[in-house]
C-alpha cells in the first residue's frame, strides 16, 4: 500500500491551504499564510492562536529534504527559542522520516547539532552535576529556562509562542544531553555535534559562519591526543634503540707512532683504510703526556679525490701535589669527529707539534672509528618529536578553557582565568 505523504486542509482563520507532512503525528500546525496555530489532532482544525502575519524565512526552509546520519529527513517544523536570562537565541528544526521518526537539528551561533529524544529514565538527570549514559560521564554545563519565540511548520506536541521549559545541558563532547522539564513531562534529548558543512551539503544551502566554541564541540585532536602521545613515545623509543645499536661505532684503523726530539717535525700517516658508507668518523688519540702539552694537526685525506678534512687536537696534562693533596688538570686523550664523510679510501695524516718532549720521546696511539652515536643529534630528534604533541596538548588545553568560559560549572582546572563576579 502506497501512502500519500502530504495531507492538506484549509486554514480556519484565513482559508489558505495548510499542508501536513507527518499526518497522524502532528497535533499542531502553523498556517503558512497567516501564522495562526491550528489544532490538527483531529479533523475539526480548531484555531489555537489567531495571527495575521506572513511567515518569515528560515535558514533551512520547511519541506527541505536532506540526508543526515545516512537517513533522509524532511524539515517539518521550526522553533526559535531564547534563554530567559542570557538572552541567547537558537533554532530548532524538527525533522521527520516516516520510518525513523523524529530528530531535532539545532543551530546556535552557527554551530549545529543533530538530536533525538531518548527513552531512558534517569532519576537524577536535571538535578545531578554529572550523569552517566552508555558508560559515558556527562558533566553539567548550563541550567536555564527557554522561551519559545517563534514557530513555523507542524509539531507532534502543542506548540505555543511564549511556552517556557526548564532545561539542563550536560556535555561529553561531541555529545550533549539535555534534560527538559515542562509542566507535564520530563524529556531527555541526546545531541551530537555536526560540522556546519555537513548540514550545508545535506540540504544544499549556504549557512552563516560559526562563532566561538560550542559547549559540545569536539576539541582539536579529539580522541587523538592519546594516540599522538603514544606515537611520540614510540618514536623516542625507536630513536633511543637506534642510538644504542649504533653505540660506539666500528673501528676502521689503529695506529701507533713514536715522537722523539729528532723527529719533531715529522708527519705520520696511518695505513689506508676504507669507509664503506657515508658516516661520521671519530679519531681518538691517546698521548701519555705528563706535565706537558702537544698539538696534533690531523688531516683526513681521500685517496681518490685528494680532498682533505682538517682538524686540530690539543692534549695537555698536568699533575702534582699541593699541600699534600694530589691534583691533576687536562687529560691524555683527545677525540675529534669528522661528520658526514663520504665513502672511500682514506689516510689520516698526523702532524704533531709537541711541547717540551723529553729526550725519550712519547708513544702515541690513535684509533679511527666510523658511525659513532652522537647524543647531540639524539636530543635534537627528541625535541623535534615532542614539538607537535606539545602543541596539541597546549592547544587542547586552551580550547577546553575557552569551552568552559561560558559555563557556570567549569571544572576547577579551567576556572583559573575566571573573575569573581
Amino acid at each position: 500500500m502506497v501512502g500519500k505523504p502530504v495531507k492538506s486542509f484549509s486554514c480556519p482563520a484565513c482559508g489558505g491551504t495548510v499542508e501536513i507532512r507527518a499526518a497522524g503525528h502532528s497535533i499542531s500546525a502553523v498556517c503558512t499564510h497567516c501564522s495562526s496555530v491550528i489544532d490538527t489532532a483531529n479533523d475539526n482544525f480548531k484555531i489555537i492562536k489567531k495571527e495575521h502575519e506572513a511567515s518569515r524565512p528560515t535558514e533551512i526552509p520547511i519541506g527541505a529534504k536532506g540526508v543526515l546520519d545516512s537517513i533522509k529527513w524532511e524539515v517539518i517544523g521550526y522553533v526559535e527559542k531564547k534563554d530567559k536570562s542570557s538572552m541567547s537565541y537558537w533554532d530548532e528544526y524538527l525533522l521527520f522520516n516516516p520510518y525513523f521518526g523524529f530528530r531535532f537539528l539545532v543551530q546556535s551561533e552557527g554551530h549545529w547539532n543533530l538530536a533525538s529524544v531518548i527513552k531512558r529514565y534517569s532519576p537524577l538527570a536535571g538535578s545531578a552535576s554529572e550523569v552517566e549514559l552508555d558508560r559515558e560521564k556527562y558533566s553539567v554545563y548550563c541550567r536555564g529556562q527557554s522561551v519559545v519565540e517563534y514557530v513555523k511548520g507542524e509539531f507532534y506536541w502543542r506548540v505555543r509562542k511564549g511556552d517556557e521549559d526548564k532545561y539542563v545541558d550536560y556535555i561529553a563532547p561531541p555529545r550533549m544531553l539535555t534534560v527538559e522539564k515542562s509542566r507535564q513531562e520530563v524529556s531527555e534529548t541526546l545531541a551530537e555535534y555536526l560540522e556546519a558543512d555537513v548540514v550545508e551539503k545535506a540540504f544544499g544551502i549556504e549557512l552563516l559562519k560559526k562563532s566561538g566554541i560550542a559547549p559540545n564541540q569536539p576539541a582539536p585532536f579529539y580522541g587523538n591526543l592519546f594516540t599522538i602521545w603514544k606515537i611520540a613515545g614510540l618514536s623516542i623509543f625507536v630513536a633511543l634503540l637506534m642510538q644504542w645499536s649504533t653505540g660506539s661505532g666500528t673501528s676502521l684503523a689503529t695506529s701507533r707512532f713514536h715522537i722523539e726530539p729528532s723527529t719533531r717535525d715529522k708527519t705520520f700517516s696511518t695505513l689506508t683504510f676504507n669507509n664503506p658508507k657515508r658516516s661520521n668518523l671519530f679519531v681518538k688519540s691517546r698521548v701519555p703526556l705528563s706535565n706537558d702539552w702537544m698539538e696534533l694537526g690531523l688531516s683526513l685525506v681521500n685517496e681518490e679525490t685528494n680532498e682533505a678534512y682538517d682538524a686540530l687536537q690539543s692534549i695537555e696534562y698536568y699533575s702534582g701535589y699541593d699541600g699534600g693533596d694530589y691534583w691533576s688538570e687536562g687529560g691524555q686523550v683527545a677525540e675529534t669527529s669528522f661528520s658526514a664523510i663520504p665513502a672511500g679510501n682514506y689516510r689520516l695524516l698526523i702532524d704533531p707539534s709537541p711541547g717540551q718532549l723529553g729526550k725519550n720521546g712519547l708513544d702515541a696511539s690513535l684509533e679511527i672509528k666510523r658511525n659513532v652515536a652522537v647524543w647531540g643529534n639524539f636530543w635534537i630528534i627528541f625535541i623535534l618529536i615532542l614539538v607537535f604533541p606539545a602543541y596539541a596538548f597546549f592547544y587542547r588545553w586552551y580550547f577546553e578553557n575557552k569551552r568552559w568560559e561560558n559555563s557556570d560549572y567549569a571544572p576547577a582546572i579551567y576556572r583559573s582565568g575566571e573573575s569573581d563576579d
Binding site: V2, G3, K4, A23, H25, N42, P98, Y99, S122, E185
Partner: protein, 217 residues
C-alpha cells in the same frame, strides 16, 4: 488459524492468532466477535484516519530473534494526539503488541495474569496526580518509573485483535520506563485490568519487511 464467514457480507474472515477474538471485515468493515463456534457482528467500523505509520497489516519483523507479523491495529486517541497499537502474531505464540507513538516503537507482551499489586500501585500513584510522575515501581525484577498517565479512547481498529475494540472504547493507561529503555504499561478498562511489559526498539533492529511505502520516501 481459524476461518469464518463475515455474518454481514459473507466474505472470509481469518483469525491468524489463537488469541484473536475480534476482527474487522476487510470488505464491509463489520466488527466481528468470535465465540466458541460462531461469529457475531456487533456493528460497523468507520474508516481510520490516515497517518504516516510505516506499518500495515501483514508487516513482518523480528523482536529479540523472534519473528512476528502484524495482524491488527487499534488506533487510540487522547487529549494530545493519537498512537497506534499493532497486535502481533508471534512464532512463539505470545500475546504481543507493537506500540507506535511520536516516531517511537515499543514491543511488549501481555503479562497474564496481570500483576495486581503492581497495577494497583501504579493506579494509586496516578490518582495522587501531580507527584506520581517519576515514582519508582519494581516489575518483573526491573525498576521502572511512571512517566505518563492518560485517558484514551479507541478511534478505530482494523484486522484481528485479542479484545473487542469498537470506537469509543475508553481506557486509562499508565506508562512506565526504565533506565535502559525497558517499558511497561498498565491499562484499565471498566472492570478489566491489563499489564504489558517489554521495551523500546529501534526501527532498524526490527528488520521489518512488507512495510508501507510513501511517494517521495
Amino acid at each position: 488459524m481459524k476461518k469464518f464467514n463475515c455474518p454481514s457480507c459473507g466474505a472470509e474472515v481469518v483469525f491468524n492468532s489463537n488469541h484473536s477474538v475480534y476482527a474487522v471485515c476487510k470488505f464491509c468493515h463489520s466488527m466481528i466477535v468470535r465465540h466458541d463456534l460462531d461469529v457475531e457482528s456487533i456493528g460497523t467500523m468507520a474508516n481510520l484516519p490516515g497517518d504516516m505509520s510505516p506499518f500495515q497489516i501483514g508487516t513482518e519483523g523480528y523482536y529479540q530473534g523472534t519473528h512476528f507479523s502484524l495482524v491488527g491495529r487499534m488506533k487510540m486517541g487522547w487529549e494530545d494526539g493519537s498512537w497506534n497499537e499493532w497486535f502481533m502474531a508471534t512464532d512463539d505464540g505470545r500475546k504481543g503488541w507493537l506500540a507506535e507513538a511520536q516516531g517511537f516503537y515499543s514491543i511488549c507482551f501481555e503479562v497474564d495474569p496481570p500483576p495486581l499489586e503492581f497495577a494497583v500501585r501504579a493506579i494509586q500513584s496516578q490518582k495522587q496526580d501531580n507527584q506520581f510522575i517519576g515514582s519508582a515501581l519494581v516489575f518483573n525484577s526491573q525498576k521502572l518509573h511512571i512517566v505518563d498517565a492518560k485517558k484514551a479512547t479507541c478511534i478505530g481498529s482494523e484486522g484481528e485483535l485479542p479484545l473487542a475494540a469498537p470506537q469509543g472504547r475508553m481506557i486509562v493507561s499508565v506508562d512506565l520506563l526504565g533506565a535502559y529503555g525497558e517499558f511497561a504499561s498498565v491499562e484499565i478498562e471498566t472492570g478489566k485490568l491489563r499489564a504489558y511489559s517489554g521495551r523500546y526498539v529501534d526501527w532498524k533492529a526490527m528488520r521489518c519487511s512488507n512495510v508501507r511505502t510513501f511517494d517521495g520516501w
